[in-house]
């Protein structure tokens, strides 16, 4: 548990903000896919923490970045906090993404804030990668330039066609498979649940059962104690599944392990 002092908190695009904390302890061990569980300062009527993926860290300066979208009461208060205010952070929490091997070419499939959740992969990729970014509209695309600067090629899909492919981000996968058929591809995905379920089916179909998805689920304790955040994971029992805790057994799961409803 660390007291994260806010260094800056600024609007990005649309309803997205970026908050930067001074949180050296968490920075010291954070990896892609980890999240922090945040007690939002001043929001005294909200008793629960909020989970946010760690978007970027600077272990040398102790700075930790989170990109968040204002969607409800907590994120609304968060967006009003100023430099110098302190949010208590638990983290890094969860099981992170598998580290890409030196010969692997990581492909990040992102919807919405998933782009932020996957961004740390650029730190662990040895020789580039690809980022497939999906959003509703042009303004909601996050971090495209940052991915490019980090050496990733970027492809975009928007629901309204205002930028890139008009349609689903999963539509972009086959093109990557085609263009990079010579590479050892490793897939990572984060975004809204329906998108991730589509990713699971696609990856199984295309022969990537070890692709990893980071599942976003309502959380409460964040440390495995309350069983609020569960998702169905395949199990060797009559029902074929058990409820695994995304906070402690996840949020990252392999697509082959996710139990898909018929």
């Amino acid at each position: 548990m660390e007291s994260g002092m806010i260094i800056s908190n600024v609007g990005l695009v649309g309803d997205y903000f970026k908050v930067t904390f001074y949180a050296p302890e968490i920075c010291a061990t954070a990896r892609p896919g980890h999240f922090v569980h945040m007690k939002i300062a001043r929001a005294d009527d909200l008793i629960l923490r909020r989970p946010f993926s760690i978007c970027n860290i600077s272990p040398s300066s102790g700075e930790l970045e989170v990109i968040y979208k204002v969607v409800g009461a907590g994120t609304r208060v968060l967006s009003t906090l100023r430099e110098g205010e302190v949010c208590d952070l638990l983290g890094p929490l969860g099981k992170p993404f598998g580290r890409p091997a030196p010969d692997e070419f990581p492909v990040a499939i992102a919807g919405g804030y998933g782009s932020a959740a996957l961004y740390m992969l650029t730190r662990e990729a040895k020789c580039g990668g690809a980022a497939l970014l999906g959003a509703r509209t042009r303004e909601d695309i996050l971090l495209a330039d940052a991915y490019r600067t980090a050496g990733f090629e970027v492809a975009v899909a928007t629901d309204d066609g205002s930028e890139g492919h008009m349609g689903l981000v999963t539509d972009l996968v086959d093109d990557v498979l085609l263009r990079h058929h010579d590479k050892k591809l490793r897939f990572y995905a984060c975004g809204p649940t329906p998108m991730l379920m589509a990713v699971c089916r696609l990856m199984l179909d295309r022969g990537y059962p070890d692709a990893e998805v980071s599942l976003d689920h309502l959380m409460c304790c964040g440390v495995g104690a309350c069983f609020a955040c569960v998702v169905k994971i395949k199990a060797d029992n009559p029902d074929g599944y058990y409820y695994a805790r995304t906070c402690s057994e996840g949020p990252v799961f392999k697509v082959k392990d996710v139990y898909l409803e018929k």
């Binding site: 548990m1 007690k39 009527d45 909200l46 008793i47 629960l48 923490r49 208590d88 638990l90 689920h217 309502l218 409460c220 304790c221 964040g222 440390v223 495995g224 104690a225 309350c226 069983f227 609020a228 569960v230 998702v231 029902d239 058990y242 409820y243 402690s248």
Partner: protein, 305 residues
């Protein structure tokens, strides 16, 4: 440093602060943060004779100064609890005072899980009988809102074990004192309360219940005034020790329950906001006693009448 030791009849605690069942996992989750043996007692999540999936998701919803949950008692069942290294075997290694919360769908289930624990009781200080979970259709709340059924469950468990018994009461009743008296008469050595108040929340944009189970149990600071009142009434109605809970987040909250007549307290929902909450409550009680020049926590129990 005041004397925080608490006498709960057949068991003594080093301090009056326990964890509330279902909010502290099986201890291991928070042992990463601190030594859980520092707590008065660790009450584990409800154990049944069988493993159980729990309810579909979503299972929780935040509310004003509180939350609703309908976890539905997901759990490993008695076999794994007794033998899997994550559960009782782990707890035995910590030296913590362990209280096992039990539940079932029938009276026979309660007796069975009690019998199994009796047979393997090393490291178990007491059993807490959950007759009040609002999230399990068969059993649960029905036992908790019917005095006769409640007493029958307690009698059946009483016959199945020699361990000290705590009966956890439902707040969804009109006259809590009558329930306290009924389970005392049936052989409960202690009473704990409150479990959650049954509530509901609706997502108006999606036009559907926020919880897959429709209703859930309300907990957190929002319910504290109801909890303090019920603890006060229960303590007036019975001679056995009363353990108070419901919205405790600070030492001051705990002192309120102690003054109302609780001999020990439990911290639940607050732990989700702050894993260290139970330790802070212990420290807060001590600070209060020191500040008032009171030597022992026992001196304030039931002091406000």
């Amino acid at each position: 440093m005041a004397d925080l030791a608490t006498d709960l009849g057949r068991i003594k605690l080093k301090n009056p602060v326990m964890t509330a069942s279902g909010t502290f996992g099986y201890g291991a989750e928070y042992h990463k943060f601190y030594d859980i043996a520092e707590l008065g007692a660790v009450v584990v999540k409800g154990i049944a004779p069988f493993p159980s999936h729990g309810n579909p998701t979503p299972r929780v919803a935040e509310t004003a100064c509180g939350m609703l949950n309908a976890i539905g008692l997901q759990g490993p069942g008695i076999d794994r609890f007794l033998h899997d290294e994550h559960y009782l075997p782990f707890l035995r290694t910590t030296g913590a005072t362990v209280i096992v919360n039990i539940w079932g769908r029938t009276i026979g289930d309660y007796a069975e899980v009690a019998r199994r624990l009796e047979a393997d009781k090393e490291g178990i200080a007491a059993l807490e009988i959950n007759i009040s979970c609002p999230n399990v259709k068969a059993g649960g709340i029905a036992f908790g809102t019917d005095k006769n059924l409640a007493a029958e469950v307690v009698s059946a468990v009483r016959e199945a074990t020699t361990l000290p018994l705590i009966t956890k009461l439902s707040p969804n009743v009109s006259r809590i004192g009558e329930f306290a008296a009924a389970v005392e008469a049936a052989g409960s050595d202690m009473i704990s309360l409150i479990n959650t108040l049954t509530g509901m929340a609706i997502d108006i944009e999606k036009m559907r219940f926020k919880l897959a189970n429709r209703t859930g149990g309300l907990s957190g600071p929002a319910v504290k005034p109801v909890a303090v009142r019920m603890v006060y009434e229960a303590a007036q109605a019975v001679k056995v020790p009363v353990i108070g809970m419901g919205g405790i987040a600070t030492g001051a909250d705990a002192v309120e329950f102690l003054l109302a007549g609780a001999r020990a307290v439990a911290v639940g929902t607050a732990t989700f906001g702050d894993p260290y909450a139970p330790l802070k409550v212990i420290r807060g009680i001590n600070d209060y006693l020191d500040r008032h020049g009171i030597g022992a926590v026992s001196e304030i129990i039931g002091k406000v009448k």
